[in-house]
Symmetry: D2
Subunit: 292 residues, 4 copies
């Protein structure tokens, strides 16, 4: 996957280049669709970056490509790192400090997702998503805390909007993201006096992601799109722009909140409504043999 | 610990006796302070009950005492059951069906708590609370699902209010309870078409509990109390009454919501405000050597 | 319109008769569909009642019918009272105290509604709904405050769920009900120390009301119904039951919150989703000549 | 009052100059403390502006001063305009279009405030705040709608955080701002398909404003400040920066949400907690002769 943004993006951007000069961002899931573009924007605007993931080749390749975005940019790919293991994240943070000198910004973006009704969502599957999304986010902040404290840094959790209402087929992700929002708020309160800010960004339906391309059945796409007030899918670039704002000096008094970037979509576009088969599919699946 | 309620409670209760006759309630944490009294009220009003916990003697003793509340009441104590293990809950549910005939109502009440700032809250400690409160609640519903589906039952999660704002020293419980609220809402949507209701009850500061007696420093108690608009602590009986309402026929159209029973306390009484030492204590603890 | 409830309701009710004996409830909109049944339940359970409205005959007739529900029940109809005029409400409260002896409970239920997109909703029309729903509710509490204070009474605002998301064609009611929720919370905080509780009840889609029968186009009804997780419309009786709970001793620690009674409907059934014509209708109407 | 910002601000700003070149912003309350600085930033970044208020001299003087910020900037002061009168706003909008050519952005900022407990807050006083804040905001959008529609413009309501919990002495503003949030969300849904975005900005405690300087008693200031996690008051510049983000192309997918800029303050700093006299003062004032 090549870069989504290019140096041209700087021309049309409302932000000045160099606003993140000398800063370092640490991004779990930074080789993934959305978080990669958040990172690309940060790099274009002067930051160096460490992107964290499990797959070493994918992570390394993405890092190499992203380093092309800005002359002199340093981007390291830290593979073989599972956010469920705090020790592996500590190693990643240590390597980042060693190679890039510091950590100023942390993006907790690593997450898993798939669709399942409750009856077919095993306890293990539920646990797996909670572990990656919620515990993994906690571990990430833990591992970066010494640097965040030293540099009066800033944390951004990648959340979602699906728990604002009660979306079907996503109990696991809803619970995980609601937990993340609460964690972010509590950290904003606890770490504020240490000079650290904590916020969430909640993307709506973003084009080109697994969530839309793989999980949303093709025949529901048109209806789903029409229900988004903005009448377009989100772009990864929209999330990147929100990220830049939150980390920038312009938002130095923004903490303990969520930047929702969804074209007003959550107000209108819940899962049940999009889904031509509510409640039939849930009744059918709910009557299956229970899965533990 | 003897029973909190007694047959006399029926006289002053606004509810008719026998409204839960022939019904069975399955309660994790049912030997604990709050959930025990929820269960006592259900028993007094006609239900049989299974209470679930890890400590076998404590659980058995509570069950025996509670069985005294109503002539003919059947109450079983299912010890050696950890809500983190779905299989142990399945066994508990099967024993309940075998001995009590059915399950109509499920209370997910088992939970852990302690105070810690972020810096001293290890990844493991955070995980432990998420596992008991959030994963444990999921597992409980999983284990009871066949019965809930058959009997068009009703689920009640015991949540809290502390994640409505961003309370310090409670990142773990805040994240867990926020996750539970989202889970409850998602289940209300998914299981509604199967005839199952799902709700939360959110107690405020309840007198006689660990939360107030052990966790709230004595010298903050008077100020904390004065900040509760109702000007009194909650009683376990208040939570029991809310529980009865939610499970009763009177609430047959109530699903996907939270019954807050807190004397309007959360609007005024957040942790930082009560805490004479905000932000000093957080700054001091935040400057300690980080704990993983 | 005859009574919806009858003395038979007492037999199936979970509540004991007489729980409101000696109490008086003051209800604006008490001759309307929902609030009338709230009042009927209170009367059946022992309360006397004053129902308030503009149309004198309608109000009087309803009062006379409702007085039949319980031998000895006193129900007065106070017509010619517009909630937009605090003085007319003061007169209504004074008459209530004079004829019924006291006021313990207040239901702020009077409201107006109609559908309109923003472009066709004049400033005056918007103001009219805000004035009846929000200012009218404030005025009602004002007029009853001396009695509420004396009797340590309880306030119930009839709110809605439509502002939890962003429903189209209802900007006016959304704004009004959101204002009411905030008012209720602030009063819970302010009046709690005086012994007064303040709460909201939020009905979902209730069968037999103007909202469903007149405002919801017939061809959208089946889809709308299927999107409610409970798979049925709400009944006025459901709202009556929630009302009884909130005013009863069982809820003496419930304040500053909203009892949602909607079959989990708001999580799934927003207006845009129900509406086969989103966004087409809004685009067409938005392109009309603006109306002031 | 001189300008708060100066051309130097452009140097340290993260935003590129000229991003609002050729655009026009229409600001009610634009001569007031916060909204003036929002407007100053927009002007510095290329916009022309119309500021609206009742006092003609104050409004004109502010406009003249603000025009000094950028060579070529056009800023008109439209006095004698009360947001409670939609017709006076229509005249203001027409003058703006005549003199500045167009309207792209609307800031609904005009508001009134004062402290009062419920017992001393007359129906008229409550109505007055609702009329300025909520009805006035509606009227403002009404008057600018033809231009917003033509130019695919963007609306920003100046809200607050005090209704997120239940602050005492502010029932009127809480209800008004909650209404505004709901209005903004509903407009985001309705006007999204016309290409119009609608959002709120919620300032925390901003230094130098009436809210902090006049309304917060001096002896509560230190405690109040310590309870803000960021450990500083907000600056008008913080709100200006959030405003720039929301109106900029960077936020083109941001609609139907609130940008909270409060240093995480609302999570910790509610009015009751700050107030050494809760609940005593409310009890005393609540026992006074009721005021209608
Ligand atoms: N897609 C949407 O429309 C949408 C909407 C709302 C919110 N979001 C959120 O946005 C974020 C990014 O979503 P996306 O669709 O761009 O994701 P994605 O492309 O699926 O990427 C996920 C990334 O997370 C990494 N990851 C997953 N599990 C991990 C683990 N255990 N340890 C370390 N890294 C792990 C993956 O790398 P490895 O596999 O190499 O580990 C991958 O790089 C997520 O938090 C998602 O919940 C997305
Ligand atoms: N206390 C308050 O004021 C307050 C306020 C808001 C919410 N709440 C919530 O109310 C509920 C009850 O609180 P409480 O103070 O009454 O609790 P408690 O007295 O501490 O009782 C907790 C119960 O949970 C059981 N439990 C804990 N971990 C378990 C596990 N892994 N597996 C099975 N059972 C387990 C315990 O039994 P074993 O040790 O034998 O397993 C015990 O019976 C909790 O959900 C709490 O979060 C309390
Ligand atoms: N229908 C639903 O599904 C639904 C859903 C959510 C919430 N709600 C809420 O539930 C409540 C009752 O709804 P409903 O459908 O039962 O209402 P309804 O039948 O239309 O009755 C409204 C009542 O309010 C009175 N009223 C209206 N304006 C008044 C004024 N200015 N002064 C005094 N009284 C006034 C009317 O009497 P007069 O005309 O004689 O004055 C009438 O008795 C309302 O607050 C509504 O917003 C309804
Ligand atoms: N101060 C804070 O810390 C804080 C916190 C949260 C939110 N806010 C919100 O931020 C906004 C600005 O607050 P501020 O403290 O900067 O206000 P401010 O200095 O008091 O200015 C208010 C402005 O509104 C105008 N205005 C008032 N009533 C009007 C009417 N009926 N018609 C037309 N214009 C009217 C006033 O001009 P004329 O008198 O000439 O009409 C004045 O320019 C308000 O919406 C406020 O609620 C403030």
């Amino acid at each position: 996957m090549p870069n989504t943004l290019s140096p041209d993006w700087l021309k049309k951007s409302v932000f000045k280049p160099d606003i993140f000069k000398g800063k370092v961002v640490f991004v779990t899931g930074g080789a993934g669709t959305i978080c990669r573009v958040q990172t690309e924007a940060m790099i274009l605007l002067g930051a160096d970056a460490a992107i964290i993931g499990r797959r070493p080749e994918v992570t390394q390749k993405a890092a190499d490509e992203m380093a092309q975005l800005r002359p002199g940019a340093k981007v390291i790919g830290v593979g073989n790192t599972d956010v469920r293991e705090v020790k592996s994240l500590v190693a990643a943070a240590e390597r980042t400090v060693k190679e890039l000198g510091r950590i100023d910004f942390v993006i907790c973006g690593a997450a898993g997702n798939f669709l399942s009704d409750f009856n077919h969502l095993s306890s293990n599957a539920f646990k797996s998503v909670i572990s990656i999304d919620l515990l993994g986010s906690y571990n990430t902040v833990k591992a970066c805390f010494p640097e965040l404290r030293k540099n009066k840094g800033s944390i951004l959790f990648v959340s979602a909007t699906l728990h604002y209402y009660g979306i079907p087929f996503q109990t696991h992700v809803s619970a995980a993201k609601a937990g993340i929002d609460a964690l972010s708020n509590a950290l904003a309160v606890e770490l504020g006096p240490l000079g650290i800010r904590s916020n969430c960004i909640a993307p709506g339906a973003i084009a080109g992601t697994e969530g839309i391309d793989r999980l949303l059945p093709a025949d529901m796409r048109e209806k789903a799109l029409s229900l988004i007030p903005a009448q377009r899918w989100g772009q990864t670039e929209d999330i990147a722009n929100g990220t830049v704002y939150v980390f920038s000096e312009a938002a130095s008094y923004v903490s303990g909140t969520t930047i929702v970037v969804d074209g007003a979509g959550w107000h209108t576009s819940n899962g049940a409504a999009n889904n031509a088969v509510y409640p039939q599919m849930l009744i059918a699946q709910g009557n299956d043999t229970p899965k533990l």
